[in-house]
Amino acid sequence: MNTEKLKTYILCGLVISGLILTSFLWYGDYPYYEDTEPVFQEVFFFEEPRSECGIVTPQKIVLPLEQENFTVFRRGEEGFHYIWDSLLEQLGRGSFEEQPAIYLPEEKPDIVLYFKPVIFPEMIFASDERERGSYSRGKIFIQSDEEIYIFFENTDNRGLLIKFNGESTGAALANITAEVLNKGYTVFSLLKDSESLRENGEDNEEGEAEEADASVGEELISEEDSAGGDDSEADNEIIDYRVEKDIYLPEEELMVSSLLRFDEEELSREDLLKAIFVDKELARRIAEPDGTLIFTDGERGLRISDSVEYTAPGLEGGAVTYTYRTALNKANEYICFYGGWADSLFLREIDKIGTAMGSNESFRGIWSYYVEGFPVLGERGTTEVRFNDQGLFYYRRSLLVPDFSPETARVAAAPGEEALREALGIYRNDSAREDGLVYIINDLFPAYIIDASEKTDETDAYLVWVVQVEEKKIFLDAVNLKQVFPGDSDEYF
């Protein structure tokens, strides 16, 4: 090739490349910030939400016995789960139909279920989508091997009667309850009003009113029964009370673990960050002097110490249009997504809180562990969520997991009746009300509490009697009945 031809080719090449480069400059887009493909982070959550029938469990299952006696199975007790799981399994098969209340059996029920939070029957009946309202109690009547009646009732006297037919349903339930009873049980009786006790005492010429019940509100109290000290005079006075709900107290001595120890739940910090922050790389870290770590992206914060606490202040102050049932499902989602829902953790209550005008409303759900039938209460021992239509804005998860087989010494708890008497005396003294009034007893139950005032490396809980006299909750050491002050707000008890 001669030189001139080469020059021509080179020149043409340069002209073409010049045109191409010019077109790049002319039409090309120079976003200074790289136009990269958006990075979609995989949505992470700890576990799938439970099915609806796993959200609400009875607070207690009562099997009526002879002569106004009962046996009670509470959350966390082996018999409780056996009965409840078997019942759910049976109700998952067969057919049911609503019945007029006149068909309600007259005999006493075979099984009584107490629900708190309330239950929606459609949550436990498979293939039932019709909304039938919420109920706080369910009575099961075993009519035959195949047929049972379930009467759901509420404190406002609403009732729903369901006739259920399933292959061997009745027989299966009868066998299960018999099996549980054969393993041994504690006899309970219902706490009666002071007036009923006095009437029973007058009717019974031989004075055979139960000694434990008779000690309460009765004028003649032996000195041995009195709690002693400064309250001895108060103990001898009559303090009338009325019981607003079914409260079952054991006839026998209640043997309990003197102390409950805790382990720390192992929750991956990285997983928590992934679950809570869309992009965890955008969350900045703050290390406090006590070892607490805080992660925040400016809109949400996650605080990790001996508990996990999540806040999203920007979502507070909203309204709530969810139904109660939807709120139950939402609470289920939140706890499952952000940490998981352990089998031994139970939803203890879920309430709508806030102003009546619609702004600043929210739902609050509280979970507790149950050990041998007794809940672990107090802020440090509970898990809580708060949410509204805008989403979850507060989540506090206790990382304290109780030892479910405590090996500490067993001690005898004071009878519930004595705890009631003590609490009434305290309430009357504190409230300085007139003599002769009738006090309303709203609740009485044993529970473990973690003392909020003691934050040591070893976390212990001890058993107390929780006595709710009218709106006030009084806490008494379960062994010596001394009043204790847990230090947390009442909402955690």
Binding site: T3, E4, K7, T8, I10, L11, L14, V15, S17, G18, L21, T22, F24, L25, G28, D29, Y30, P31, Y32, Y33, E34, T36, E281, L282, R284, R285, I286, A287, E288, P289, I294, D297, G298, E299
Partner: protein, 295 residues
């Protein structure tokens, strides 16, 4: 000129043109701001500003395009050292409270907060009349402030960027910011009020800069996006306002913590008074509840 020579010349010219075009393509930062932030982005921002009655007077920075979280620790709280620096052998009264310690002398008050913040305020009645009335300009005010800090060893090597603002006649505010790799830490600063040729007040909050720990660089939002995010939050303004400054830096609020990470921000000043810090990663306004005012 014959064809052959013409071809040679054309080859040289086009070769030079190609090299020029190639260089321009590979080094976009060499161009004007219109080359680095797209016209569309700028137009969107200007349109939004106009709709909300804002006027842009600030330059739009092209960089940075990536940044990182800056790790800092709580400010050192050398109480005795500060007392010595400001009072020397003067007789002072000491008051200890829950939030900090206060030293008071005839001439001044020094308050040292538990989180490391301190303020030093001169008793102005002790100032000589001549000092307060001396006519000074911004440069002289800066010199006065610098000397004040140098004499007390408070002008450290990581103190860089400064700002001087006239408050009233003969009164200036001088702010020195801490810096990391020439980028200011807006939440780490010492602010001095200068009256005449005297420093009458010094307020300091200076976390210790650790650096970048175990964090990768990440893309930041462009300054235009930060401006739009701010205007979206502030909304329409009845009286026309000016976007007077857009500057990159780091900022976080104070924490009662041992160590924390500070995000990169775009600092946007409105009317040279109110300053807002827009998180350069997320677009959130870091000081949503309060704007730093110099007045």
């Amino acid at each position: 000129m014959n064809i052959s020579k013409a071809k040679s010349v054309m080859i040289i010219v086009f070769l030079a043109l190609n090299l020029f075009l190639l260089y321009h393509l590979l080094e976009p930062g060499w161009g004007s701001i219109e080359d680095v932030i797209t016209l569309e982005e700028r137009q969107r921002m200007e349109s939004m500003l106009a709709e909300n009655n804002y006027v842009l007077e600030a330059e739009i920075p092209a960089k940075p395009e990536k940044s990182f979280f800056l790790t800092v620790t709580a400010p050192q709280k050398n109480i005795e050292e500060l007392r010595e620096l400001f009072f020397g052998d003067e007789t002072i009264e000491v008051v200890e409270a829950e939030e900090g310690i206060t030293y008071t002398s005839e001439k001044a008050v020094l308050f040292i907060q538990n989180n490391g913040f301190f303020s030093y305020i001169i008793n102005q009645s002790q100032l000589g009349g001549d000092a307060a009335e001396a006519e000074v300009d911004e440069g002289e005010a800066l010199d006065t402030a610098s000397i004040f800090l140098q004499e007390r060893g408070l002008l450290t090597e990581d103190t860089g960027k400064y700002e001087v603002r006239a408050d009233n006649e003969n009164e200036f505010t001088v702010i020195f910011y801490e810096e990391y790799e020439d980028i200011p830490l807006f939440s780490g600063h010492i602010k001095l009020s200068v009256k005449g040729d005297k420093v009458i007040e010094a307020r300091s909050y200076r976390p210790r800069i650790v650096g970048v720990e175990d964090r990768q660089e990440m893309k930041v939002i462009p300054a235009t996006a930060a401006v739009m995010r701010l205007i979206e939050e502030l909304g329409y303004t009845g009286e026309e306002k000016t976007v007077s400054e857009i500057a990159p830096g780091f900022y976080s609020r104070e924490y009662e913590a041992e160590e924390w990470e500070v995000p990169p921000v775009w600092r946007i000043s409105i009317d040279e008074e109110n300053q807002y810090y827009i998180n350069a990663f997320t677009g959130n306004i870091e000081n949503k509840e309060s704007a730093l005012q110099y007045k």
